[in-house]
Amino acid sequence: MIKKLLNKYPPTKDQLLMILHDIQNNRPDNYVSVSDMKEVADYLNITLSSVYGVVKYYSMFSEEPRGRYIIRLCKSPVCRMKGTFDILNTLEKMLDVEMGETTHDKLFTLETSECLGQCDNAPVMMINEKLYKNIDAYKLSNIIRSIRSNQNQ
């Protein structure tokens, strides 16, 4: 199933992280399944365990299905000073999930991240590739609402 994607890459082990990113970003449920890992291992001629080890090691990869949108809330020291945990509480209530969980409609997964390098705009978060700066409760509800309504259209 992912053959076409794999063929874009030369079959060398150093491509592993790039391939895993590509697979994950092309799945609506944002993860790398064990059968994907097997195909990658065959393609690169490495063991399944070495692919699995990489997926487990790097925090951006997941071997469990996640939501279509991954929320990554920065919890670095500066964002903490500027109220990340209030934001986290608000998000947990708004989405009715706890940190690390996926919403029932499979739309959002709520995660935290180490420093996103936006400390002059703290607190910040990313939703997939998009960055949101200086967030507060008001902005949050707009962001979530607009993603939800786009989704329903």
Binding site: H21, S50, Y58, M60, A122, L131
Partner: protein, 415 residues
């Protein structure tokens, strides 16, 4: 009142970062053309003479790194590699992001000159995957450079050509450490390597590799163009040049500011960042990120340089400055930092794996005993961290001692 002095950010905000013609109009690639007329060894000498030190945090002389890579003899392997470390993950640091977003061609030009000086034909830019805007811009800049013939084919009058590729991280802080970054580039888990051998001798795929930080590469075109003497006019004798400081926390205007080395913390906070927010008083600053040091007001007038700060048992590190006003709880800040190390420890070395967890537990204990002997506990933690630093492979194990020892030195009474 101090002013900004811009080398790495000379084009930032002035040109369209995606336009190679605007970069060229601003003098871009003239340093590369000049370099191609010189002997590669001469370039290494020039960089050595400039006194440029690695801007990633460790401050190792860049010219020496170049020389070691150039002189490395490898009998069984062909190529040498050049790598740009753009895996900026140190909390409080965002200077590399600014360079990549606002002037990606400058970094590439620095890489081209360095690659020519050591004879590398292949290179990688390892960017953390969270930096989506940086990735897009560097990607576009690479396309521009291929189109214009700076990359991918022999440069005029030489046998030299360079291929550059972007590679992405995947959320590991540790991969910003150069040897761990190499492991990650090879498609493995981010575990540190034993050193020596250093990357200059045995780096990527076992071949000699020159690996520098984004900001370091961004300084090289200036040095070639203006000469080491002119570069040395900026900064201090032991820390020449400029530095991008990223100031965040309780200041009026958090942001990035490029000034000469040797500027004081007070000048940075007051003249650049507009002073402490809401007229509060300064309590502490954390210099260099999480793997950094707490300082009090006695350091406000110390020139910011690698050696001057070291005398005060503080570090310059990546140039991150997190400012805390007197309403902040230092204890919480230290706790956050120690939890960060616990989370990011890769687990390879036992002293770091167990130690980072123990430090958090000891912090919990201090928290629970309101009036116990906290100072004694802090001293215990410091000893633990010293042991970790001495017995771990990579800088992560050697990091907790930095905030702990500096807290002990400057804020003992606080506990």
């Amino acid at each position: 009142m101090i002013q900004e002095t811009k080398i790495a950010l000379k084009n930032a905000g002035k040109i369209n970062p995606l336009s190679i013609s605007e970069y060229q109009s601003a003098g871009g690639f003239s340093a590369l053309k000049e370099s191609l007329k010189k002997e590669p060894k001469q370039i290494i000498q020039t960089i050595n003479d400039s006194g440029l030190r690695g801007r990633g945090g460790a401050g190792f002389p860049t010219g020496m790194k170049g020389r070691f890579t150039d002189e490395a003899v490898c009998h069984y392997c062909g190529p040498k590699y050049i790598i740009c470390n753009a895996d900026e993950g140190e909390p409080g640091t965002f200077k590399d992001r600014v360079i990549m977003e606002q002037d990606p061609h400058l970094m590439i030009e620095g890489m081209l000159i360095s690659a020519f000086s050591i004879g590398a034909q292949k290179g990688y830019i390892y960017i953390r995957a969270e930096y989506s805007e940086s990735i897009e811009k560097v990607k576009k800049a690479l396309e521009n450079c291929y189109k214009e013939g700076y990359l991918g084919k022999k440069l005029p009058g030489t046998d030299f050509s360079l291929d550059l590729e972007i590679r992405l991280g995947a959320g590991s802080y540790l991969c910003g450490e150069e040897l761990t970054l190499l492991e990650s580039l090879e498609g493995k888990r981010g575990y540190p390597r034993i050193k020596p051998p250093f990357p200059a001798q045995k780096g990527l795929f076992g071949c000699p590799t020159l690996i520098n930080n984004v900001e370091t590469f961004a300084h090289i075109p200036y040095i070639i163009e203006h000469g080491p003497e002119n570069y040395r006019k900026f900064g201090t004798e032991k820390s020449p040049g400029t530095k991008i400081f990223t100031i965040s926390g309780d200041v009026e205007k958090p942001g990035y500011y490029e000034t000469e080395m040797g500027v004081t913390l007070r000048e940075l906070i007051e003249d650049m960042a507009g002073g402490i927010e809401d007229g509060e008083d300064f309590q502490a600053a954390v210099l260099g990120g999480a793997a950094g040091t707490f300082v009090d007001e006695s350091v406000l007038d110390t020139p910011m340089g690698y050696d001057t700060l070291k005398e005060k048992e503080a570090i310059l590190g990546s140039g991150a400055i997190m400012v805390l006003d007197d309403s902040r709880c230092l204890f919480e800040m230290l706790y956050d930092i120690l939890k960060f190390f616990q989370h990011e420890s890769c687990g390879k070395c036992v002293p770091c794996r167990v130690g980072t967890t123990q430090l958090v537990m000891m912090m919990d204990q201090i928290k629970s005993q309101k009036n116990g002997n906290r100072e004694e506990m802090l001293e215990k933690m410091k000893n633990e961290a010293e042991y970790m630093a001495a017995n771990s492979l990579c800088p992560l194990g050697a990091s907790p001692i930095l905030p702990l020892a500096s807290t002990y030195k400057y804020f003992k009474e606080y506990f």
